[in-house]
């Protein structure tokens, strides 16, 4: 097991360095040199320009600049935002819980309904329900989620007035961030001071529901399809027939004997959806003005805040490869055949 983890770690490091190369190259590939980019359109005194280049270490050969960049990363210097002057690391850690909260809720929504729909579709194979679920899954898979968000806002927020249009919490509430997860913070605040913060938790939940549905739509479709096909495969196995023949209740056969074995490919697919979630978060957060990483990155691009773009992308990419690494390890724990494969 230990050597398996080491081997996977050996694959992880080159990937990480490759990504640092990309984010390092990002700023250098932008037309015009970084100093001009940072000061904007203004024409700069040549002396000041040279000073700035020297101060930023940009007059060194390119490979030394890369070494400097790696050194900064290793010592935890991710640069500062050109706009807010805050460190990129601080901004990232402040905003990340919002994205995580959204992503977790989206995944929860997708997993619960995807598994349920997939299982029922597989049991009732060929029925109207099965065709309906598969049709809806293909539609969900083809969904432009930024538009889906707009449609849901139009219907549930504007027309019915059930949910708020944007943000994480009503401005009437003033809740100190403790965990960064609005649901937990609101719940804690409500528990601490029921008179002042009455209804804060419900309000936070209402804000979360539409974005989570929008972000979870594509994973939901993928999970439903995968669960169905994996269930159908396992239902054909001899041990399922044996379980039925010895008189176990249908629920037990389906949930204990079949679903558990059908879960392995489904879990892999869920792990792979983390990348999709981070990409989708960019769109979802933009639509719902959700103050998370995705919106932060898009805002940074439109403000030409390059240190944020550069290292923000690095952080997200690192996160995705770490999650994939963990999924790999869990998979190895669950399935010895993978662990011992060359």
């Amino acid at each position: 097991m230990f050597s398996f983890i080491l081997r996977r770690l050996g694959l992880l490091l080159p990937t990480f360095f490759g990504i640092t190369l990309i984010t390092f190259g990002l700023i250098r590939l932008i037309p015009g040199d970084p100093v001009e980019v940072m000061v904007g359109e203004r024409t700069l005194d040549p002396q000041m320009h040279a000073d700035a280049m020297h101060r930023l270490g940009l007059d060194k050969p390119i490979y030394l600049q890369y070494v400097d960049y790696l050194h900064n990363l290793a010592t935890g210097h991710l640069g500062e935002s050109l706009v807010t002057k805050d460190s990129v690391w601080k901004e990232f850690t402040t905003l990340f819980p919002a994205t995580l909260e959204l992503a977790v809720m989206a995944m929860l929504f997708a997993a619960v309904f995807g598994l349920l729909a997939g299982v029922i579709a597989a049991i009732k194979r060929g029925s109207i329900f099965d065709h309906g679920v598969m049709g809806l899954a293909l539609t969900g898979f083809s969904m432009p989620i930024f538009w889906w968000g707009l449609i849901l806002i139009m219907f549930f927020s504007v027309k019915l007035g059930w949910t708020p249009v944007s943000g994480r919490l009503d401005l009437a509430f003033d809740i100190a961030p403790r965990t960064g997860f609005m649901l937990i913070d609101a719940w804690l605040a409500e528990a601490a001071d029921p008179s002042l913060n009455a209804g804060a938790f419900k309000d936070a939940l209402k804000h979360l529901i539409l974005p989570a549905i929008v972000l979870g739509t594509i994973p939901l479709a993928v999970i439903a399809r995968m669960t169905r096909s994996s269930m159908l495969e396992v239902l054909r196995e001899d041990y399922v027939r044996t379980a039925r023949a010895k008189g176990l209740s249908p629920a037990r056969v389906i949930f204990i004997h079949t679903l558990r074995n059908a879960m392995i490919p489904v879990l892999t697919v869920m792990g792979l959806q983390v990348g999709t979630l981070m990409g989708g978060a960019v769109l979802t957060e933009t639509i719902f003005s959700w103050p998370g990483i995705g919106k932060w990155l898009i805002d940074a691009i439109s403000r030409r805040d390059y240190p944020v773009v550069q290292n923000g992308i690095l952080m997200v990419a690192t996160l995705v490869i770490l999650v994939n690494f963990i999924v790999d390890i869990l998979y190895g724990i669950a399935n010895p055949r993978i662990r011992h494969a060359k």
């Binding site: 490759g18 037309p31 293909l138 432009p144 096909s229 691009i301 990419a317 490869i321």
Partner: protein, 307 residues
């Protein structure tokens, strides 16, 4: 032996029974068996025709602003006129004309980026399969790095470098799609390389290029074609997403995603500005994905069970 002697009598009947339908006919039988795929094909033909004939089909110039008819509702609604069948947007531009012209852009972006990803992807994949030791593992490591970044985020990063615009959108989407082609080509080429026919042509003295492109590649085409269809639909989605974020095709060019970028402000009073471009994107992507399913059934029975 008796069987062999008896066979001449049965030859005629056997030949009829054993004669295979032409590949094209066989393909169509497999494809048309899937009703959804046929529906998708018909829809896409309609979209393609209207894209090709856009200047003649569209009732108006897509960027012409009719200031007297700003946010006019579709013809079938109260207050709608037959002058603008699908209504107009916030600047008084005819929505139907913009959607028809938008089809040109979406199909163009989709086709170009698929070709731009497929050609280098197939070449790199074949190289990786033929030289697995050094070159192959180098290429695959590089692709792993690209795969580690979420597709949309990578596209956004590339556009952030190159700047927004039509050509840069295509380049970004093609780069994002590249690793999947490399992996797919390498995987199917690796299995083909162990087959006897490859050894035979190698022994017969076939050169490297001939082995790559004449012997092996045609046998890897089925999954590649299926994947190309799927990546065509995701290219349309990504182009629309970039346009929506303001990083893709720039206004006033009528691109489906770009049309939605400003629609958010009209959610309360003009549903058609919000709904129609999105429905068009959804239906096109759905149609292509349905076609992809049909192609998979027809071309690659092995893939049928994969989700």
């Amino acid at each position: 032996m008796a069987n062999v002697q008896a066979s001449p009598v049965a030859t005629a009947a056997d030949e009829v029974a054993l004669s295979y339908p032409s590949p094209l006919k066989e393909f169509w039988q497999g494809f048309s068996h899937n009703k959804g795929a046929v529906a998708g094909l018909i829809f896409m033909i309609a979209i393609a025709v209207s894209a090709l004939l856009a200047p003649w089909l569209a009732p108006y110039n897509p960027i012409e602003q009719y200031r007297d008819a700003i946010l006019a509702p579709p013809a079938w609604m109260d207050g709608g006129t037959s002058r603008f069948l699908f209504g107009t947007d916030e600047l008084g531009r005819d929505l139907l004309s913009r959607l028809i012209h938008g089809a040109r852009l979406s199909l163009l972006i989709g086709l170009t980026s698929v070709v731009m990803a497929m050609v280098p992807g197939v070449i790199l994949g074949l190289i990786a399969a033929f030289f697995p030791k050094v070159l192959g593992s180098l290429i695959m490591r590089l692709m792993d790095i690209m795969m580690a970044l979420p597709a949309l985020l990578l596209a956004v990063a590339i556009v952030a470098i190159l700047g927004p615009g039509l050509i840069n959108t295509m380049i970004a989407i093609a780069i994002v799609a590249l690793p999947a082609y490399v992996r797919l080509t390498r995987a199917s080429a690796m299995t083909e390389l162990n087959r006897d026919y490859v050894t035979a042509s190698r022994v017969a003295g076939a050169g490297l290029l001939r082995l790559m492109f004449v012997c092996v590649l045609p046998n890897c085409m089925a999954p590649l074609i299926v994947h190309a269809t799927m990546s065509f639909s995701s290219a349309i989605l990504e182009a629309a997403a970039l346009g929506f974020l303001g990083l893709g095709v720039q206004p006033p060019t009528p691109e489906w995603g770009t049309m939605l970028a400003s629609a958010r402000d009209y959610i309360e009073r003009a549903w058609w500005v919000v709904t129609l471009p999105g429905v068009t994107i959804l239906l096109s992507v759905l149609a292509i994905n349905l076609m992809g399913d049909g192609l998979r059934d027809a071309l690659d029975p092995k893939l049928k069970r994969a989700a």
